[in-house]
């Protein structure tokens, strides 16, 4: 921890104050300084307590400088300072344990003095997919709640949906659901078209903390209207062969065809364009042949 929260120049300055600017004991002092705090090299602290510990090291630095100015001995001062620092570290708030299975849990981030870096829980941002099964016509409800403590401020929830019955965590399939707000989303009544995966992203100040997924499966019989339609379809099938001979073919004119809404399809427009181009080319060729015959006659 000493090397993480003090700079090299600060440590050098302390030793220079103890033994002199160019004393032969300068290197010995530096080694003693580092060795006194070797017992704290494996310390892990709560990341939020870093600034507190940094302040404590700053105060220790000032105290050592004052002790050096008072002609103290570094052999006694360094172990004493290390012992006091150890007591301070034991009184710091402990780093909390990670809560599986997912999420960016900043409260559990810990600072490692062995390497002077922090590390968060080794858990994925994407939570496992939760299966939700409802009967058609009933209500489907999703709760965007995680089992770890969220920060109290600036928490937002954004909902997305991947339709077509997909069960996926690939964000490229999802589209925003602007009407869904807050940590609760409900669908009432649920229809077959709602089959798919719903996603909720919990963010704090635009930083994602967790991504929850809910796969909605809608079950149940087809609607009554569909049943009636199927019955009518079966009646038409039974009726069609008997009355086929009575149906007369319809021969519309070109104007009637063009007047229909579905006439101007891209393929029809293309065919019309090709026809116009061919007609124009033919007229041009005929005119050229006529003028050639007329000129050759002179």
């Amino acid at each position: 921890c000493l090397l993480c929260f003090t700079t090299y120049s600060e440590r050098l300055r302390i030793c220079q104050m103890f033994v002199g600017m160019r004393s032969p004991k300068l290197e010995e002092c530096e080694e003693a300084f580092t060795a006194a705090f070797q017992g704290l090299s494996d310390t892990e602290i709560n990341y939020d307590e870093r600034s507190h510990l940094h302040d404590t090291f700053t105060q220790m630095t000032h105290a050592l400088q004052e002790l050096a100015a008072a002609q103290g001995s570094f052999e006694v001062a360094f172990p004493d300072a290390a012992e006091k620092m150890k007591k301070v570290i034991t009184q710091l708030k402990e780093a909390q344990a990670c809560i599986p299975p997912c999420g960016l849990q900043e409260f559990a981030r810990r600072f490692l003095c062995s390497g002077c870096y922090s590390r968060v829980c080794d858990l994925p941002l994407d939570c496992p997919v939760q299966d939700v099964t409802v009967t058609r016509g009933d209500q489907a409800m999703f709760s965007c709640i995680v089992n770890f403590q969220l920060p109290k401020e600036e928490i937002t929830y954004s909902w997305k949906f991947a339709g077509g019955g997909l069960r996926t965590q690939d964000l490229s399939y999802f589209r925003d659901m602007p009407r869904a707000e807050g940590y609760l989303a409900r669908i009432r009544p649920a229809q077959l078209t709602h089959r798919g995966t719903f996603s909720c992203v919990i963010k704090q100040d635009q930083r994602p903390l967790a991504r929850l997924y809910f796969f909605l499966n809608v079950t149940g019989p087809p609607p009554r209207a569909e049943t009636e339609l199927q019955a009518s379809f079966r009646e038409v099938l039974r009726w069609a062969p008997r009355d086929a001979e009575l149906i007369e073919p319809w021969r519309p004119s070109l104007g009637e065809l063009l007047a229909r809404p579905e006439a101007l399809t891209p393929s029809n427009l293309f065919l019309l364009a090709v026809l116009g181009a061919l007609a124009s080319a033919s007229a041009t060729v005929l005119a050229w042949m006529f003028f050639r015959w007329y000129c050759s006659g002179n």
């Binding site: 090397l3 700079t7 090299y8 002077c116 870096y117």
Partner: protein, 153 residues
């Protein structure tokens, strides 16, 4: 697809550069495979005074799991590089696209893929504790610790 049209599909930010970690214990093809699947970036050419908070701000406080600052092995102070661990590959690819060539603390940063942070990797590998590139530097850069170590000797 013709050669001319293939250039439209290229993404230079995602191609592997010549940078390789020579301390990687494994075969080259294994390293390349890991690099293509990694979600960890190596950011270099940083100022010695760039802090972890500055890098968080550069990423707009999103898509980052951890930041491991490169440290001088002896002094334990920043020495101009860091490792950025993203949550997934897609986030890392976005970061690679938009941050390569960005200016941070008056230095143009460069980003490369890394197979993943391991304990001890954050330390400089020069004899004096910093990066090797700063050992033999003869010019003066206040943001990179002044003169190179070779010149100071």
């Amino acid at each position: 697809m013709s050669k001319d049209l293939k250039i439209l599909c290229k993404d230079p930010a995602l191609e592997l550069s010549c940078y390789r970690d020579h301390q990687f214990s494994g075969r080259k093809f294994q390293q390349e495979k890991l690099l293509k699947e990694s979600s960890t970036l190596n950011m270099g050419n940083l100022s010695f005074y760039t802090t972890e908070e500055k890098i968080h701000e550069l990423f707009s406080r999103s898509d980052i799991r951890n930041i491991f600052m490169g440290l001088d092995k002896i002094k334990k102070t920043a020495c101009g590089f860091c490792f950025v661990e993203c949550h997934n590959r897609a986030d890392a690819e976005n970061a690679m696209r938009f941050l390569t060539g960005t200016c941070l603390d008056e230095w143009i940063i460069c980003t490369d893929w890394d197979v993943g942070f391991r304990e001890g990797q954050q330390y400089g590998r020069g004899k004096s504790g910093g990066q090797v590139r700063d050992e033999f530097r003869e010019d003066f850069h206040s943001g990179r610790g002044g003169f190179g170590r070779q010149t100071q000797i």
